[in-house]
Symmetry: D2
Subunit: 394 residues, 4 copies
């Protein structure tokens, strides 16, 4: 069976003016495989309605609450109702919303960090397993073609045994006490009631952690962390510095900050192996620098026709080299892969490769376990704390 239609997407959160909801929408629809057909965009019915209007949704498909939407859509005929729901609300709402969606039979896309704590993450993991539904966590940086190329090379052995990883994720937008100025994004992110126990670690740190694992395939075995609050009056961490040990003996340095004044969104990763090293920077995402012991430095370039790229990297490019793709396209790449998984699910097929290339609930569990461990390490006078991410029981 071939469904031959666009997948139908619903959205929780993401009212007009929200940052990440808008990105999800653009990314989801740009490749003509998904259409947005309904939403509960805000806890304010009026804001939700206004957003629906701007997006040209039919009024009846704009809901006052996520519960209403999920129940409402479930009650529609199968060939009308949404296939999956995208959750782009503040952190503490992810869990109940995702749970409710899964329990009612909908596939889920959830923004990161996945939940407010590890317990919720584990519960969500069990539920995904039980229901067999598709769940994607939007660690969108793994969608960049040159991140995929980096992964092919680092995991695939081209660099030899890996020895060292340096990841940096500096931003500067919280260099002042933004959360007291009426800045909405800053306000909720800085409120422990909403985000859990961490600010920067959840907002950007989990991306960095996920990126390390995606590219290197290494397992963090111990952490030595200091989560600091450098802006007076702030309630949670805004500058995180962590040393890492990996299970193969490799070493890592992990720096995440939102008080690195003037920095935009400067995620960078460097990975060094016995034979070579690579470097990728999110702000110039279409290049991947590769250094070798005995050959000239190479710059691999994104492009569906670019020389030297792996098939997976090429397949994640829409354009020939020299036509820059960016943040939204990387985001769209993971949506495309999610759409493939959902379509296969509907059609009763499995992935031909045995797995899908998008971040999922297991990544979310590891992320929440990482947060828990670095918080524990921060409070400890012991240098090294083992990092163990719980496994879902069978």
């Amino acid at each position: 069976m071939d469904i031959n239609r666009k997948l139908r997407m619903g959205m929780i959160g993401g009212s007009e003016g929200a940052f990440i909801g808008d990105i999800h929408r653009k990314a989801a629809i740009m490749d003509s495989q998904i259409e947005l057909i309904c939403g509960a965009f805000s806890s304010s019915p009026q804001r939700s309605e206004e957003t629906g209007r701007i997006l040209h949704l039919p009024k009846k498909r704009v809901y006052d609450s996520y519960q209403e939407m999920i129940i409402g859509e479930k009650n529609l005929p199968k060939d009308e109702r949404m296939d999956f729901v995208t959750i782009v609300t503040p952190n503490n709402q992810h869990f109940p919303q995702a749970k409710f969606a899964l329990e009612n039979g909908f596939h889920v896309v959830c923004d990161k960090p996945m939940t407010a704590n590890l317990g919720e993450a584990m519960e969500l993991g069990s539920l995904v397993k039980e229901t067999g539904l598709i769940f994607m966590l939007t660690h969108n940086y793994t969608g960049y073609p040159m991140v995929k190329q980096a992964g092919e090379m680092a995991r695939g052995g081209a660099l030899g045994e890996l020895r060292k990883v340096v990841v940096e994720y500096p931003q500067g937008w919280l260099a002042t006490l933004m959360e007291r100025t009426g800045h909405k994004q800053a306000a909720w992110r800085s409120d422990p009631e909403i985000t859990g126990n961490v600010l920067t670690m959840g907002d950007v740190g989990t991306h960095a952690e996920n990126l390390i694992e995606y590219i290197t395939g290494l397992e963090v075995s111990e952490v030595n962390a200091e989560l600091s609050t450098l802006v007076k009056g702030r309630k949670m961490d805004d500058d995180d510095n962590i040393l890492l040990r990996f299970s193969n003996g490799a070493r890592g340095a992990f720096i995440a900050s939102q008080v690195s004044t003037g920095e935009e969104n400067n995620l960078k990763i460097k990975v060094y192996g016995e034979k070579g090293g690579l470097e990728w920077a999110q702000m110039e995402p279409n290049s991947l620098t590769v250094r070798w012991t005995d050959k000239p430095l190479q710059i691999l370039r994104a492009g569906n026709n670019a020389p030297g790229l792996s098939e997976i990297a090429k397949r994640n490019c829409r354009l020939p080299a020299g036509h820059p793709e960016g943040f939204i396209e990387a985001f769209a790449n993971i949506y495309l892969e999610f759409a493939r998984a959902v379509t296969n699910h509907i059609e009763g097929k499995n992935s031909e490769t045995g797995s899908y290339d998008f971040p999922d609930v297991a990544d979310g569990i590891r992320g929440m376990a990482f947060i828990k461990t670095v918080l524990e390490s921060t409070k400890s006078s012991k240098k090294w704390i083992p990092f163990v991410s719980p496994e879902l029981e069978n």
Copy 2:
């Protein structure tokens, strides 16, 4: 009246595998203001159908020919039929297709170069004027936020009186005789029957010419051109070098090439005025370098929150600084402005600013006149040939 719906787009050309048609689709729909509802994607009905299937269009809205589509859509009820048609066929088809669309009352988006010659361009200009319909020519590079910023600065006087412009557009993909290898894109572009009299000048040169005018507002008054064919066996120009004089006395150098081996799509422009100079490069589009006589060098950065940007540049960013936007988003920017124009047309409103910020039929006429003049100059032993772009009569 507020139409409150997405605009309905039809497409001529752009079957699966085509480069530019796919970009148009992604760019058009990503911001939720436009939906693709029909297409005549290929001269082969089978290919057209297959493309429609991949795009999940209803079968009856996939047509066998552009004529069928235009007539077919015209005959549909007003609240169903397409609002505009996007033409992404080889150059020599632009004119008859655009003409037919306009004559039947449809707004038009047309890929560049606009027509095969200046005569057709003039005729199209008259038709646009007569019909009062909206016509956009996709000189998409003007959609980049930092190009808009450059224009604000250069045209707005921030650099002082302008003195010098250097534009370069090197590509390398035609460094071998690709057109004889079965490469479809290369084949039609290299066939004078299809493209008119120029290869590189039409394919990338017109973008460069348009970019100069958009950013500087200067008028080319004389050209001294050499269009060369550097790959043996090729039928048209593949390397163009031109000196320019502008009407205010400024000087220009213009370099376009498709045999600059190894170059991707390296469009760059530098503009120097009495007080400062600026530099923009398409392959790193989110930065604009600004040099001053007496102040440190600045890098203005794209971003809807970026310091130092004009309102128009910010408005053309979807994301905060550090979240790279690329080729497709720039393309989407001109589609958004086109959508605004079409919506206003339908609603009977005028642009509140008196004009729209997208390239139109007048740009197309200037482009075709420029091609004609540089060809003339190439053949001439006279050093300088005046450049006069014909005006549409009232």
Copy 3:
């Protein structure tokens, strides 16, 4: 009294083929304020003689041992004998040679790390103090004009209160077990008998530590260090990762490595304050990136005529902007300042600014104390170890 002559330099170590000795010579003489007049270039008299010949020194001024040279020169008439000696031997020889030179009345330039351990460093400090002679330690990276500019800005308050420092110093040349391949530089550096207890920490780590202090003026108060050996068979550290706390509450991350495969000499520092941040990279040393909260990014550029630079930065440039100066010129800058100090000493004058702008014995003591502390931290299971650098007694 104005001596009006070039200062006379002698050299210990630096036979033909040695890396750093040759740099010292070029740097010292290029500005016409110093001439090399004698040397004991090698423990092999033959090699020493050969080096003297290549340098066109008179035979009688080429000595078989440093003791011979120091005594020999001391016995020459005052208007012939050397003014100062430069020591460019392996680490463990620095102390006895510098001591002997000082005891015999010669000013000293000593390569880093200053000594093999903190005890020697303290003893040398006392001796410098007692003799009143001039002592320079060649932390040459502080000689770059843009490092001086960075220091003016960071120490001078332009960035506001400092909060975060990230220093990275990756090299890749020890990614294999070079010391077993007959590579002379690798061999002695990797021998604990010669270098003391550290490899990478002494070779590049001390530069990084010194650079932090020079630019920021902050004091490290606590360290949390892991010095690792990642290449099997190596006897000392080759990869160092350290978290820092500064006495004002700022945080730091410190990464030094010689197994970062493919990296050349990629020293970088980033400093963030309340109002702005700056970034400098040794491999592109003529630029200093400055980021602000509310203004566009600036690139300050080296040049004796460059806009926006402090006087001290300009004074350390020989050339106008756009004429790159490099490693040797930075090295020459500290030699020029040393020459000024020695000349003043000979002429019986003090520095008009009260101090000289070159790294001295106090920097060396701090460096050795830092090494001691990070070694201690590496062995400790305690997270944080206080860093206290001993003061010289009066």
Copy 4:
């Protein structure tokens, strides 16, 4: 015979505060093969004396005029007198001074442009030939290691048959009428009595022309030039735009300007052949970008140990990769090669390679012929003017 001593250099011009004279001195002496032993630094005896004092020269070797110096040195015993003279005076003085030096038996280093016109250049060429003395013209940019690498690749066929050359040399320091503000460098350069008929073409254009020939080995066969004066009140060209044809059919674009506001010293060259292209930029001189049709982009890096470099490129590096060398070192490279030639001459040997790798009087003749031709082209209404550089008769 092995002279085993430093070569003795005299200097004409280059009084304290002059730009280029100081560079010559630093470059000449830094490698311990040359010493400055005399000078006639200024037409003002007082300034000359003051410069001699700063350089710590003996009073009797500081002369009041170049004639006095040349005669005075000639009359000294052979083992005391200078070996060669470096001429760093304004353009119109080069010819009489070089002539006088050659006629009196001294080798010559002369700054560019070589003479005030082609006639003088030819006469100097004959004199060099007649006397058999060594003559170097300081087109110093050819001394950069990565320029040598570029030459090895482009001339050596690695890029295939060459098709296209783009050279740009923008500076911005004459964007205002500097010559009226008391700026000494600007004043003499802008005075036709002193420089001949060109400003920018002589000051930077000849470097660009020489660089094309050095790297590509191509011969310019025709020029189509416009030398313009863009700043009102200026007497000569300040912005030059030229199209080139080469004898093998390749095309070129040549842009030189001193009114490119804000530009420092931004010499760049791009060369494209059938198989690959390369790009070098003087402001980041230690990298050479190489692009291929079918392989990833490479960045070759300077360094005496850098992978992928030719022997000649490595030999022109003093330092390992990652230790930046700059303008002065490139200058020193051509001085080292000149010193080798002079030493061989004194010792009665020939170059073992049959020729020396420094720019000589033949380059100077071609440069003056190029200036003459582009001036002629500028005045002509004909598009193309043949470029023929006269050959010296045997």
